[in-house]
């Protein structure tokens, strides 16, 4: 699911999608970019002594030097992911930025992956 999330965002926005915490302070922030973090994967639909589906939980964040774009891109990213079966509640929230030049907003996205042949 990580690959799918990265691919969806990269193909739609043409921007790098990086794991949260992987940017180097020496290199600084790009002008705008996405980050993600996989918080957990819960096994659900439990019967016959095992799970038959998985709920993937990701934080998705967008940072930019343009604060207006931060709001617009997050709303558009939420719509994009919902159209591909992701579950997102709300319209995102502000997230801290290391660099004073950038603002960030993020949201939590869920995807229920059903096991094949379940």
């Amino acid at each position: 699911m990580t690959d799918e999330l990265i691919t969806l965002l990269q193909e739609e926005y043409g921007l790098r999608v990086r794991r949260q915490g992987s940017l180097s302070p020496e290199k600084g922030y790009p002008t705008e970019f996405f980050t993600f973090w996989n918080n957990e994967t819960d096994g659900v639909a439990e019967y016959d002594n095992r799970s038959h589906a998985t709920v993937w939980v990701y934080d998705v964040n967008f940072y930019s030097t343009d604060p207006e774009r931060v709001h617009a891109v997050i709303l558009s990213a939420i719509e994009l992911l919902r159209n591909h079966g992701w579950i997102i509640d709300g319209k995102g929230a502000d997230v801290p930025s290391d660099e004073i030049t950038h603002t960030g907003r993020g949201f939590t996205a869920f995807f229920r992956e059903r096991e094949v042949n379940s």
Partner: protein, 154 residues
């Protein structure tokens, strides 16, 4: 002379039941519940301090300011609202710098920053479901054991 007809009601079983109920009432008393809650809160406090150890922090703690650790709730007290007892755990968000970039607020939202990954221990404790559910389950088990022991006392 013939004996009068009588109707009888044997309350000896009721008396025994009342004694058990009184014991159960004591077992489920506020003091017991507060003890269970405070024990759980202390465990969470210990785990939170452990999670703040520099070797667990993102970037080996190089962004450590001490503010987040200083906001850990160290002396929790149980508060009652009617029949519901609660105890604060984790961080005192009224203190400046509490949680900071490591964990944000009560509603799920992004944590960490592009330079600093979320602390996996804190994430597991305060944003995942399994850790707190485990603590809750243990608390319920302890209270049920108190009640069962009181019920079974001779």
């Amino acid at each position: 002379m013939a004996k009068n007809n009588t109707i009888r009601l044997d309350t000896s079983g009721l008396e025994d039941l009342m004694r058990k109920l009184v014991r159960v009432e004591h077992a489920a008393a506020k003091e017991t519940i507060e003890g269970v809650l405070e024990e759980a809160a202390q465990r969470i406090q210990t785990d939170t301090h452990l999670a703040m150890a520099k070797n667990y922090l993102p970037a080996q703690g190089q962004y450590w300011t001490g503010k987040t650790a200083a906001s850990i709730i160290d002396d929790p007290h149980v508060e009652w609202e009617g029949m519901v007892g609660s105890v604060p755990v984790g961080f005192d968000f009224s203190k400046p710098g509490a949680g900071g970039y490591l964990i944000k607020g009560r509603k799920p939202s992004a944590t960490g920053t592009p330079y600093m990954a979320p602390d996996p221990m804190l994430n597991k404790m305060f944003r995942g479901t399994a850790y707190m559910k485990g603590i809750q389950d243990e608390m319920y088990d302890k209270v049920l054991r108190h009640i069962e022991e009181a019920w079974d006392e001779k």
